[in-house]
């Protein structure tokens, strides 16, 4: 990471996430190739593409669950790099929801949500509980607050995971295939919560195959293939024909049935 500049460039304060010339390798395999992308305040960006195209890797670079080797990534005006203190700051402004929920199995639902505000914000447990219950109500699961993750269904767990991320009051939410591990009948309850979040004006970056969701909620669609951003256009352009060959082929595959 030594080749990264450590001085933060002045960038448009409206741009919450920006990638500039980002490259990433897993050993000899190049997972991301010259990624340039910015996400503005309030924008909803859906990232799609075939598996192995680098979309999860890209979204995971935003909060540095994966480290990139070349290029710069700015989040909320700060450059992310492996300085732990700065990275922790960035991560507190970025909420993330995973494909496999990743709730903490040894904690109750309420504890799952209160942990980060208590540890990071140094607030009392009463205050944290209040915040947590607010967000649990928002994802309509407040009545399960005393249960443990293993007692909930997949859809319920994912909604708790969303509440857990929201409790840090993030400026951006990242969703890494949030519905891919869910049984079909539970997908909608999660998408509904995400849609509500979007209509409240949350800035969102969503990796998903749910094209219906993209149609309804997205402002912009990014299509990736083989580690490159192939398309980066408005939802209207993407769904009404202004897309390239590869995107066409991908869409026809997933929309067929």
């Amino acid at each position: 990471m030594s080749n990264l500049s450590t001085t933060d460039r002045k960038i448009d304060p409206d741009i919450l996430i920006s990638f500039q010339g980002v490259n990433k390798w897993f050993d000899h395999f190049q997972a991301l190739k010259d990624i340039n992308l910015s996400v503005k305040q309030g924008e909803r960006v859906v990232v799609c593409g075939p598996s192995g195209s680098g979309k999860s890797t890209m979204i995971r670079c935003v909060n540095q669950l994966e480290n990139h080797q070349q290029g710069t990534i700015h989040v909320c005006g700060r450059e992310v790099y492996s300085n732990m203190k700065q990275l922790e700051q960035v991560r507190r402004e970025v909420g993330m929801v995973f494909q496999s929920f990743n709730l903490f199995p040894h904690m109750s639902i309420l504890q799952n949500v209160t942990l980060a505000p208590m540890r990071n914000g140094k607030i009392s447990s009463a205050e944290a509980s209040e915040i947590a219950m607010h967000y649990l109500e928002r994802v309509q699961i407040a009545d399960q607050a005393d249960k443990f993750p293993s007692q909930l269904s997949g859809g319920q767990q994912q909604r708790v995971a969303i509440a857990r991320a929201l409790a840090m009051k993030p400026r951006v939410m990242l969703f890494d295939e949030p519905t891919s591990a869910l049984d079909p009948e539970m997908i909608n309850e999660v998408l509904d919560v995400m849609g509500e979040l979007a209509s409240d004006g949350m800035t969102m970056m969503v990796v998903t195959h749910e094209m219906g969701f993209a149609r309804k909620v997205a402002d912009r669609v990014v299509f990736m293939d083989e580690g490159r951003i192939e398309e980066n256009c408005s939802k209207e352009d993407f769904f009404t024909g202004g897309r390239g060959e590869r995107a066409e082929a991908f869409l026809s595959k997933i929309l067929q049935h």
């Binding site: 669950l65 732990m84 922790e88 507190r92 909420g95 993330m96 995973f98 990743n102 903490f104 990071n120």
Partner: protein, 298 residues
């Protein structure tokens, strides 16, 4: 509600009887050899007197050398486990660290201990500890008449104050030795936690320490408790080797009893039984607790 069918009682088959028969024959032959061929004059009561003896003056039974020895063994195991667990927790975390130096230090420790015979390790460390370390921490000039030192609590915790520095040296040697095995248990425990747990904890911005304290260790501890309990029992058995550096625990005292009474067979059979009862009752307790914990979690 319909009840589940009762479990059918397993019946013994011919194969089982043959197996039992063979084992019985071997035991019978051993008894025959000992009683008829090896002319040996058994005298159990002589050795039993070293477990408990009847004190005429106070007209009550008083614990003798072997029972005192097993108390020392227990004290050794207790303190060594606490120190070894501390070493294991720190070293085990270092084994999984991203920092190369930390990984190398802990790896060296583990490999060093695992690839030297325990007895050799104990000898090396004992002479270093008793010769260099003990005078430095000043354990040798422990005030034998201090209020705490002469109190009953001190005796329960550490045994005879006169043997205190000897006891500490033995416990430390054992702890350093067992610490390496606990290190590996802790490492396995930490590595068994799914990557997603680390990621979720980091993604909400928890500091490195909080990730470990709130997310990783609590989950790892649950997984490593059973092997840790097993290691504790192993430690009780391993504690016999510190008899070689004159720590007055069960095995050391048994050698003395065997040589004063010349009743070698009786002594070691009784001592073996004492170890067995101790270790087996711990094992049974732990497995009972484990089953109960499993049921509670369901």
């Amino acid at each position: 509600m319909t009840k589940p069918p009762l479990k059918t009682r397993r019946k013994l088959t011919i194969v089982d009887y043959i197996c039992f028969g063979l084992v019985g024959a071997i035991i019978a032959y051993a008894i025959y050899r000992v009683s008829d061929v090896l002319v040996y004059n058994w005298n159990w009561s002589r050795v039993f007197n070293f477990v408990l003896y009847y004190d005429e003056e106070s007209s009550s039974y008083v614990p003798n050398l072997l029972l005192l020895g097993i108390a020392t063994t227990l004290r050794l195991a207790f303190w060594a486990t606490i120190v070894a667990a501390t070493i294991g927790l720190i070293m085990g975390y270092m084994r999984t660290s991203k920092n190369l130096a930390m990984r190398m230090i802990s790896r060296c420790y583990v490999e060093l201990v695992r690839n030297i015979p325990p007895v050799v390790f104990i000898f090396i460390f004992y002479f270093f500890l008793s010769g260099q370390l003990m005078p430095v921490i000043g354990l040798d000039d422990l005030d034998k008449n201090g209020t705490f030192v002469s109190s009953g609590i001190f005796y329960i915790l550490f045994g005879d104050p006169k043997l205190f520095s000897n006891f500490v040296a033995g416990a430390l040697c054992l702890a350093l030795f067992e610490g390496a095995y606990i290190t590996e248990i802790v490492r396995a425990g930490i590595q068994s936690i799914q990557k997603g747990q680390w990621e979720a904890a980091r993604a909400v911005g928890l500091s490195r320490l909080n990730v470990l304290r709130d997310i990783i260790f609590p989950q790892a501890i649950r997984k490593i408790l059973p092997p840790l309990a097993g290691q504790f029992i192993t430690l009780i058995k391993d504690s016999a080797i510190v008899s070689l550096i004159s720590i007055q625990e069960l095995t050391f005292l048994a050698t003395e009893v065997a040589s004063t009474t010349t009743k070698v067979f009786e002594t070691w059979i009784i001592v073996g039984a004492m170890y067995f009862i101790l270790c087996y009752s711990f094992a049974a307790t732990f497995s009972h607790l484990e089953k109960r914990a499993l049921r509670a979690r369901r």
